[in-house]
Amino acid sequence: MTRFPLRGLRARMIVAFALATMIGAGAASWAGAESASDALVESHQRQLTRTLAEQIAAIAPTLTYPPDQAVLDRLRAAVGPDTTVSFEDLRSSDGADRATAELRGAVRERDRIATQRITADGRPLLLIGAPVMTTAPDGSRTPSGIEVYAARDLGEVEARIDDLAATAIGTAALALPVAGVIALLAAGGVLRPVRELRDTAQRLADGDLDARTPPQGADELAQLTATVNEMAGSLQASMAAMRRMQSDARRFAADVSHELRTPLTTLTAVAEVLADAADRMEETDARESARLAVTEIHRMVRLAEDLMEVSRFDAGTVRPRLEEIDAAEAVRDTLRARGWLDRVELTGPDGIALRAERRRLDVIVANLVGNALRHGAPPVRVRVREAGPEVRIEVADAGPGLPDHVLPHVFDRFYKADDARARTPGSGLGLAIALENARLHGGGLTAGNGDDGGARFVLRLPKEAP
């Protein structure tokens, strides 16, 4: 099959089916033609033989016995062309004597007419060998010694047989389109369950775990279908279990961070009092402890806030409150609000309009620039530009860049590039939140290294957020 460009199961089935039908129809009509032609040859042969016997019988009583050459000639002439008549040493011949030794032997041995088909000069011939008998009054027969060998042309029969064969081929050929149509229908019938199974598998692959194919019948295909269904079932069950665990974990994180809020509110409220008091403390240990407590309170607040933000993203309840803002101006506001304007080079024209939520854009930019200032090396550059339907905000620093093993994980939650950085002011959720915010606007955030080796983050936001 590899030699034929028939790859599809459907095509192969149709061809095989049509072929089988063709061969069947061909064989049937051929067998018909064969037996018809056998009968035709048979009857033609019988007729030729009978004619010869009658011709001989008709003239035999008039023949002088034992015959002389003239008598033999007369007999031969009576029988027709292509005939040889012999009696002992005498013979009378017209045309080539084609009688085979086999035929002569049979004629002498059996004392009956014998026939044989041969092909001579490309034509089929019937050889008839007839001994002429002498019958006693009581009916007993003895060979007279006269033998007649005649050759009769079967060309005409052959032509008729060829006609029959042609008709058979024609009939078989007529069966082809019919076979084709039946094959098409049959292939459709056989392949429909295969197609359904494939569709189901496709839907499963696309994530529709409810997809099933009802198994029909009890063949291998039905077993396969049942197996696929089973597989989908267990996949669905484990997916559901996983989702449940995942959502449990997320709900837990949300609950924890939410529960932390109340004590943190108290802590935040009193931290200021504590900080003021610490400045006036006499004992250095107590003063340092109080300051540490205040610092850690602020860090915990930030962590809880980030956790809640992440939980909201996970819950899928976040909707951006879009407004028309000027991209460069928004970035400048962020830098100004944090006192970073003199530490960051901002380039980019004013007037790039962007529909986004101001606060979320601020979160992203502040995070990226904050990271660059903390982990990278100056100068930190922020470039705002228009790229088709998008606004790109690029934050690059001149530091050592992000190591290759870190790059795939920079947006992971709580991912710390190395232990030395473990105690940074960040919550470990900053970039994850930044990415979620970018996606919320239908944009994206990518991390990489610039040509000069420094880390480079590119924020892409569509001008018209979805």
Binding site: T265, T266, L267, T268, A269, V273, R321, E323, D333
Partner: protein, 224 residues
């Protein structure tokens, strides 16, 4: 500096905020439930209410509405969640501003002062626009001779807008001018306050005469 009523159910949070606001010079009366809060309000009306939305018994929204029904005292709501539902619900109930917990005392103090700060108007005295009369000295507003009770925030919004009739203010400009928020302020504060103001001074809320919307930009006073 100001007499504040703090309604907060958690005793530690309540005490912590009381301590912190006290250090900023405020006199803080605290109540643990909504009922207690409303009772305390009636007993001694404060200059400002700080209201936690998550309360046992009657919830913060209901408390907010009840206080608003009693007058124009500014209300700052505290929300444990940053949920839009809480914020929008609180603003519709008549809150002037909101703060998400945990709150830094300095930030809360700044908001309190911003809400309480009034005026900033010139000595021009009285502005008249058809039936609307805004007295920038006595800080009273009347419509067709009838006095209109505005909250401090509503009044500041009206003063800001009517100070430059015909000028378009963006929401951000209004947030900075009226609420003294930074550049990240929530524009829903503005929209909500405009709605409340219109309800009080416009005869047809659907076709406002005084506070008009400039689609895509913000709001403008008039032209009348």
């Amino acid at each position: 500096m100001a007499a504040i009523l703090l309604i907060e159910d958690d005793p530690l949070v309540r005490r912590g905020l009381q301590l912190a606001l006290g250090r900023h010079g405020h006199e803080v009366e605290a109540a643990a439930t909504g009922e207690d809060g409303v009772a305390a309000f009636d007993a001694a009306p404060p200059q400002l209410v700080v209201l936690d939305l998550m309360l046992p018994g009657i919830d913060g929204f209901t408390v907010c509405r009840r206080i608003r029904a009693r007058g124009t005292v500014p209300i700052i709501m505290l929300t444990a969640r940053g949920d839009d539902f809480d914020i929008v619900g609180g603003l519709e109930a008549g809150a002037d501003d909101y703060i998400v917990k945990p709150v830094q005392p300095t930030v809360l103090d700044a908001r309190i002062r911003a809400v309480l700060r009034r005026g900033g108007t010139g000595p021009d005295g009285v502005r008249e626009f058809r039936g609307l009369r805004v007295d920038t000295v006595s800080l009273t507003v009347s419509l067709d001779g009838a006095p209109v009770a505005l909250t401090a925030t509503e009044l500041r919004l009206l003063l800001t807008l009517s100070g430059s009739p015909g000028r378009v203010f963006s929401r951000r400009q209004l947030l900075e001018a009226v609420w003294e928020h930074d550049y990240l302020g929530d524009s829903r504060l503005v929209d909500n306050c405009v709605q409340r103001l219109r309800a009080k001074i416009e005869t047809d809320g659907a076709d406002p005469v005084y506070v008009q919307t400039v689609r895509g930009f913000g709001y403008r006073f008039g032209p009348v």
